[in-house]
Symmetry: C2
Subunit: 308 residues, 2 copies
């Protein structure tokens, strides 16, 4: 950076021949986290992770971040430093510089708002609108873990949460390298991250692309640590995997017979496996097909699930 | 823009040979504005104006903005649209595109957090740290009006506020063209905007530049509409002009005998007059010199003034 934190703004040298990609997302106490369930460093991690996930979904390489904090009077300075440490630790792992920011007091809850900038080569970015009927739907990692972690942490009288599910909730791992590799290899025609759940993402990509989708229920990569817990709660793990949000995995529309490019993209990336979970189709609407071949409408999103 | 609002991030084409300049600043209900004194469009205007002022202080041309809203449940949709309209109206005037953003609910107050990006030619940006002992201190426009406007609006039983001072508070006019012109003409060695008042800005520029400053009290361009009001309140208008914040004027360090470049910078800019108000000096510390030649330490900043 040419001018960093401490001045009215930061000055950066753009990367030659690359496009600029920018996104902003906030986490707010009482909405996205609670002090009871999140350490300050978890809050910092998550605030940056959700933005890294957005850039990954565009196939962009993150580079710089601006950190905007709204700070209640009762947050001690040490906790603020831990929040910043949580941001910085994740930033360093992905080569992101925190180039500036802003702190203001607030009479309300703690809020951490991060703006993330990065770059992508010309015509290598991925949007939500590029899917074509016939494209396969692939998703990274596992589903339903973050939502299970949240319920485990907040259910009254619940035992200590499963560590895998709790980590999925507190410390989501953005699929930055996978997103970039998929864009570079031209392995996908569309992408989106699963911030609000699989149902939401499939619906949004289908709508933006002017098509529909069919999901194969039996193919969904349900988080193993969440599966038995969902069953014990009387919740169908498939439904939980479809509508549970905050997994921050990536969804891709991959052209049929695109396996070669997909393998190229995967070659040097340590991010978890991709699973084929369905197909985009011509008819609008999103259906879930169960093992017996029975079709059902996609369950409504996160909010509905919240009210079960 | 190549990809605009509605996707995971925005994609922009960088400007050839220009540097990227980014800043972020939030306005929070109960801290920076109240619903009683600000219309929703005022809030949107001010949220963008404070960021435009930061970029102006870097001599950068603004280009794009990301708008992050934290929305309490009791703000009606129509008010949200008016906030966005307030942002957009000001953005259009300065050629800024709102390329994306984010809305989240909050259990707390309304907060509008804007990230602003722009460009500046190589080595044409202005920082706080470039002043040299002997440089003249110049300031744009008038001082003390925004703080007077705030006190007029919030004092119990006060008559309707003076429209000029109220507008200075609700609708600050960022000195974008002036900042850019000063950078292009190489007319200044350092710059900062007056978000937290003149005292704060002079002190910050002096400290960052490793020098001190002497302000000429009789030269200060006190806002005429505020002057008699301050006197009626028993407040010295000079003190009000020095410590009252939120005027969002620009302060510059101008080299001695730099009048030619200063005139060049001013030639095509409609922003208000610049006034020479003092000089940066070798000895650290900031002094105010009154008409009789008596030197006083600079009054403490905004916070102290608040507690008068």
């Amino acid at each position: 950076m040419l001018v960093g934190p401490g001045d009215d703004a930061a000055v950066l040298a753009p990367v030659r021949n690359e496009r600029l990609v920018v996104t902003t997302d906030a986490v707010v106490e009482g909405v996205h986290f609670s002090r009871a369930s999140f350490a300050p460093a978890d809050i910092g991690h998550k605030a940056l992770a959700v933005n890294l996930s957005d850039l990954a979904a565009m196939a962009a390489t993150p580079q710089w971040a601006l950190l905007s904090l709204q700070l209640p009077a009762d947050w001690p300075v040490a906790a603020v430093e831990e929040i910043v440490d949580g941001v910085t630790a994740l930033a360093v792992r992905f080569g992101v510089s925190v180039v500036g920011g802003n702190i203001t007091r607030t009479p309300g809850p703690l809020a951490v708002d991060i703006t993330l900038g990065g770059t992508v080569a010309s015509r290598r970015w991925l949007t939500r609108s590029g899917a074509v009927a016939g494209d396969e739907i692939w998703v990274s990692g596992t589903l339903g873990g973050a939502k299970a972690g949240l319920e485990m942490m907040t259910a009254p009288g619940s035992p200590s949460p499963d560590p895998v599910c709790a980590a999925r909730q507190r410390r989501p791992e953005p699929r930055v390298r996978l997103g970039v590799a998929m864009g570079r290899a031209r392995a996908a025609r569309a992408a989106m991250d699963l911030s609000d759940g699989l149902a939401d993402a499939v619906r949004q990509v289908a709508q933006a692309s002017g098509c529909g989708a069919r999901l194969d229920a039996s193919a969904l990569p349900i988080e193993p640590d969440a599966q038995s817990w969902w069953q014990a709660q009387g919740v169908d793990p498939v439904t939980a995997a479809i509508v549970g949000g905050e997994d921050y995995e990536l969804l891709f529309a991959v052209p049929k017979r695109g396996g070669g490019r997909l393998r190229n993209a995967r070659r040097h990336v340590a991010d978890p496996a991709l699973t084929r979970i369905g197909v985009f189709v011509k008819d609008p609407g999103v259906l879930v097909v169960d093992r017996g071949g029975r079709e059902d409408a996609l369950p409504a999103g996160y909010e509905h699930f919240e009210n079960r």
